[in-house]
Amino acid sequence: MRAALQEALSRGWVRMVALVCAATVGARIAGAVLSSEIHFSATLAEPGKFSRLEVALLLIGSAISIALFFRRFGPILRIILRSKKDKDFSLRPIGRRVWDFFWEVLCQGKVIRQRPLPGLAHAFVFWGFLAFALVSLNHLANALELGFLRPGSYIGNFYFIFAAIWALLVAVSIAGLFVRRFLARPIWFGTKVSNESGVIAFLIFLLMVSYLGAFFVGDGGVAVKALWWTHTLTLLVFLPLIPHTKHLHLVLSPLTVFLKRDGFSKIPPLSSDEDFGLIAGKDVTQLISLQVYSCVECGRCTEHCPASNTGKVLNPKEIILGVQSYLNQSGPASDAPLLTEGLVDSRDNPPAKYMSMEAAFECTTCGSCEYQCPVGIQHLPIIIGLRRGATNTGAWEDTHGTKLFLALEKQGNALGLSAMERDKFIEKQAFPIFDGTQEYCLWLGCMGGYDPKGREIVADFARVMRHLGTSFGVLKKEKCTGDPARRLGNDLVFQTMAESGLKAFETAKVQKIVSICPHCVRTISNDWSEYGIAPEIEHHSEFMARHKDRLPQQASGESIVYHDPCYLGRYRDVYEAPREIVAMAGELVEAPRSHERSFCCGAGGGLAFLGEEQGERVSNVRAAELAATGAQVVGTACPFCNTMFRDALSSMGDAPPQLLDIAQLTARALPKMQEAGEQ
């Protein structure tokens, strides 16, 4: 059907019809101008009587238009409804949903915020459409003599002028967007020019112009009839185009935004003994189907993706479109695998291995895509779902991945070291063992317990706690939270780790946990909830910010650029606490991409443990960006970011900035303080 339509489009008859109509109007107006007959009237001109033939034509036209709309929309709806049910779905919390709907759909908050100018243009088109809906309805109703907005009436007059202002804004905006798409052409739109977008833009423009034109002509003339028919025909052509193009989002995305899963990067529990993740069409749930059909192909996800930006195969937009084409081709009951190593057609770009295991396992789970998407598509449950399907069945065979899983199975830590190494470290640092009398359990994590740099950070943070007089203890035995297994889709290892961790906290009667690792914090506070209730946990940035009154203010004047870790920022919404700490240690500098738009270090999603990357290293790109700010110090708040940057910065040669965790930035001022206190 799409093919047929596209052919029709390319044959250009639609355009022809539209052009002829436009030409008529244009000529009319131009003629009016030339003969200086033009008069702008504050009231909208209405065509007079409609002949029976006209009414019949309108009815037939409408019937065809609506039929064509449903010919495509029907199957899409059926695919979505026949997809697997989301077992964990709940409308609660309804307040959050209503707010998201208000902010993201009605206010277009996200669209404007992420790309202000085109966002605003889009918002005008959207608001204009809303304002215009009534006018268009009235417009059609007029032909049947059912018009409800009378040009003469008080309300009608106000509304027509009101709509006219919007029409003007829409016309300007859509023209601007058209120029951007076809002349400026940002790279993330893909290499192929989307003709359908052009046609749609033109139709919208025509809708507006044919409405505005009616202010310039007198009642009852030929001109007003011509305008009326132009407007109507444009509407009737527009309607069936909606489900055939990405403009389907006009219908679906309000629903998508309202229904999206609660929580960022939320990985749903497996629904049954037969569920191993997204293996085939039959595993695709209704929410996923709804989301993939809502994609507007704006490319925001890919624009911000660290993998796509460094030459990897992974392209989040193509993953979404890949699932969409899969559903179109194979349907939601199919057993055909979603991930193949072969070529998959993409609508915009040349065929590539977008739906491949290679691509799925290049994701750092940084969450930029999900954060950016203006229509509420949640990429992470999909990408991690695909990984689950591959890992839970053993289809993913990767030397490093296998080594990691075996290390987690056997040694219980991601670095594959003997647990005795951790014991030795605890002994050397004289960390007390948590026995229920201390306020905090200091969670070391794999990096804090085994990695040399992570240990320095933990040791420094312990000094800060001691300085504050906060009592803490560490667990005698600690296993990985299961974060890398979780993100790589290994539910077996993750469950084992989560259950063992929950038990350890329960046995030790831990009430409060603090950790230097955002990944541990996220996994314990959020992902573990599938298996039990973990004690309250916070990140050391939050802890230190709370106690900042009693921490030393340093007068170093040093410039420190702070890097937002994905799992602290986008995942936990903590942006200010670490900045407060950095600001106490020196002068805070912002990287070009910071806060919600921070660029990943490349370690997340278990990738820190996998082999060498394809293309450029994500960590190098980010480290260079941080160094380019000219700051003397790079401040981190995650031991993984720290290791990634350590390697990246050291390979950068001449005098790279110093690299310090916020705990180290704080602790370095402590001894002097203590001495001063002692004196």
């Binding site: 497996l270 003994d273 191993f276 890992t391 839970n392 069945t393 053993g394 030397t399 991945g401 296998t402 899983f405 075996l406 199975e409 056997k410 040694q411 003997s418 647990a419 005795m420 290994n490 539910d491 077996l492 290892v493």
Partner: protein, 253 residues
Amino acid sequence: MKILVAIKQVPERDAQIGIAADGRWIDESDLNYTINEPDAYALEEALQLKEKNGGEVVVMCAGPERAASTLREALAKGADRAIHIEAEDLGERDTLGVAQVLADAARDEAPDLILTGLQSEDLGLGQTGVVLAELLGIPHATIIMQVEKTDTGLRVKRELEDGWFQHVEMPLPALLTIQSGGNKLRYATLMGIKKAKTKETKTVQAAATASPSITLERVYLPEKQKKTEMLTGTPDEVATKLVEKLKFEVRVI
């Protein structure tokens, strides 16, 4: 090809080992157990042989109730069936005694090939496989790195010392003891675990202990010892004595 893999459950590598009160075995309370690593490689070899040549992989393990978890893990990794030979008194059985209970179970199965790890990580005797082969009257080869099925039987690669290898052709049925590191181990998957639940585990009782030919008298942790011996005489004599000791007693030169 029907392959039987004999596996052993041993304390986890990092376990803090303590000695039982009677001083004749380790204290088993508070210990976590796992599959003996060389046996994991034996299982991997069996699974790969099955993937290439078809057939069935049966795992067996002698031990108390806890051994069932290691068998389940083996089923999850892809073994088809499991045999649990229940024995509470493994510590009191010598190699021959253990090999005997394994041989009893193996006879009922009549496999084409028996695989087991080269040695166990706890006792490290390296004999169980060999004795088992003798009891069953089948040929065996030890320290195997690679196994290949041929028309007549097997072609295997043995590890010798100093980087030397030996290729051996042998008929079936046979027993091989597998060296660690010859293959890449696979990770356990959720699907495997779920499937394992539907697989059969047969439990048999181990025959009563015959009087063992070797008894464990005492088990103890390595004793740290510092022995100091003063060498006296002229510098020449001391040097000669030192060289002698280094050569023949400490054997480092």
